[in-house]
């Protein structure tokens, strides 16, 4: 059975890109357009991985990471940032917020899904 992946990004084109790539590699990801919807989905659903943008309205990626990592039921779920924050210091800030992975935009379409798979506990689908 395929891993359950949640993808959060407020940019419609970038959300679609990530969902498209994951589907092309056999996953059935769920997409949300902001941090509030992401946290609601994470709290209800049973995701194997969360992929999130950082700068989003409402709850941003940093806040989402803090909420997830302070919740005993959710803190074990791998959380990977996919963000256009690519200046010096951003990687450290993202890691400090609690993210397990950091991928900068523009992503590499050829390797994006395998980069994410490295964070899946059960290995490739």
């Amino acid at each position: 059975m395929s891993a359950r992946i949640l993808v959060a990004d407020d940019n419609v084109a970038n959300l679609e890109l990530m969902l498209y790539l994951l589907r092309a590699f056999g996953y059935a990801p769920e997409g949300v357009a902001d941090g509030v919807a992401a946290f609601q989905a994470i709290s209800c659903g049973n995701f194997d991985m969360v992929v999130s943008d950082i700068l989003m309205p409402g709850i941003d990626g940093y806040e989402l990471a803090r909420l997830m990592k302070s919740d005993p039921r959710l803190k074990g779920t791998p959380l990977v940032a996919v963000t256009a924050l690519a200046m010096s210091g951003d990687r450290e800030r993202v890691a400090a917020a609690g993210f397990d992975g950091y991928i900068t935009k523009p992503i590499e379409p050829q390797t994006f899904v395998s980069q994410l798979q490295a964070f899946l506990p059960a290995g490739p689908a």
């Binding site: 084109a13 970038n14 890109l17 498209y20 790539l21 690519a86 935009k105 523009p106 379409p109």
Partner: protein, 380 residues
């Protein structure tokens, strides 16, 4: 001035014109704090006729005296030395009209036939303090401007990468043929889209790098670096594009190269840029990366040269080669179609590494760019 042989009246007279015409207001006070003599500048600064001040307490002129002035004065008389005051203390002069102004005061003993007095030189520092405040304001403005610039660069980086992600991403999915097969022409055009978008990304990165260097924010971490490893990385990154053009691309690093203490990322960026240029501007022939130990500015150094058999550079273009955006100059030959920042960036990074970057070129025959880095702490 040696006044011990004179009376106060002598000092007030024409024998000591320096006192009367001194640029500072000068007030001579007896050990009880009574004003005994003032000069012309005192009248101008405080608005009194001198007759109004003689015999008055000196406090009439000095406001908000910090601490206990009587105590200070007795201490002063016990150990009379030149004593600058007002430095780090808030001292104010008080004008006859009640207005106050910041002053700096210095005290010095004055020996006379009538005993020792204190000469108080009072300087109006209104302008200096206003100037210091203005300077502080300007510094604060500069800091704000710098913060605004950093913020602008960070958001520009983010905002440009966001749409580029979709452009490069979906171009990639199409070229991966995930949605379906492509005709040869569709694939060719999509590769043009991808290479143009990649070029745009490198332009953004160059501009950000440059602004970081110019604001002194490019973080360098000097560490022992094996140069042959960096050259091998550069070679690996570019060998396919050299192959596509049918160029003979070689990188020979001597086995006995010493470790260089430098910033690995900067060195990689410089060499990648030089080799990439060489491949780009060489239609046929070879591109060669060589390393050699040399002496530079009297010290042992490592020279890494990138030699090509390319189109070369005209002598009168050589000196403008390392200037920012020079290649975008529409009047220049359209040889350099890159970001126009690559060589400028390379030269800036080289300077940060404490090295030199030079070029020798013959138009139509080829160019050699030589990066020289000092081998600090090594023996050649």
């Amino acid at each position: 001035m040696d006044t011990a042989a004179y009376s106060l009246a002598d000092i007030a007279g024409s024998r000591f014109p320096l006192l009367e015409y001194a640029p500072d207001a000068t007030v001579i006070v007896d050990p009880h704090g009574m004003v005994r003599l003032v000069n012309a500048q005192t009248e101008r600064l405080f608005g009194y006729y001198r007759e109004e001040l003689l015999g008055q307490r000196v406090e009439r002129l000095i406001a908000r005296y910090h601490g206990n002035q009587f105590e200070e004065r007795s201490v002063y008389f016990a150990d009379p030395q030149v004593l600058p005051m007002g430095v780090g203390r808030e001292l104010y002069g008080r004008h006859k009209d009640g207005g106050e102004f910041p002053v700096e005061i210095s005290l010095s003993p004055l020996s006379t036939t009538e005993g020792t007095f204190v000469a108080i030189a009072i300087r109006d520092v209104t302008e200096r303090i206003a100037f210091q405040q203005r300077l502080q304001e300007l510094n604060a403005q500069l800091e704000n401007a710098n913060r605004a610039k950093d913020h602008f660069l960070a958001s520009m980086s983010h905002e440009l990468r966001t749409p580029l992600n979709a452009v490069l991403g979906f171009t990639g999915t199409l070229l991966m043929k995930l949605p379906g097969p492509l005709t040869a022409e569709q694939e060719r055009q999509l590769r043009i889209v991808r290479s143009s978008a990649t070029h745009l990304l490198s332009l953004i990165n160059d501009i950000l790098d440059l602004s970081k260097i110019e604001s002194g924010k490019r973080d360098l971490s000097f560490e022992p670096v094996r140069v042959e490893e960096v050259i091998a990385d550069v070679y690996a990154a570019l060998s396919s594009s050299a192959q596509e053009k049918g160029l003979d691309f070689t990188a020979s690093a001597g086995a006995q190269l010493p470790e260089l203490v430098t910033d690995r990322r900067a060195l990689h960026q410089i060499l990648l840029n030089l080799a990439n240029n060489a491949i780009k501007y060489t239609p046929t022939g070879s591109v060669r990366i060589d390393t050699v130990l040399a002496t530079w500015q009297g010290s042992p150094a490592l020279e890494i040269s990138v030699n090509d058999t390319g189109i070369g550079i005209k002598a009168n273009d050589l000196q403008r080669l390392f200037e920012a955006f020079e290649q975008l100059d529409p009047t220049s030959t359209r040889r350099f179609e890159g970001t126009g920042l690559g060589l400028y960036l390379s030269r800036s990074l080289t300077l940060l590494l404490g090295g030199g970057l030079n070029v020798v070129s013959e138009y139509g025959t080829g160019s050699t760019f030589t990066l020289t880095l000092p081998l600090v702490g090594h023996t050649s």
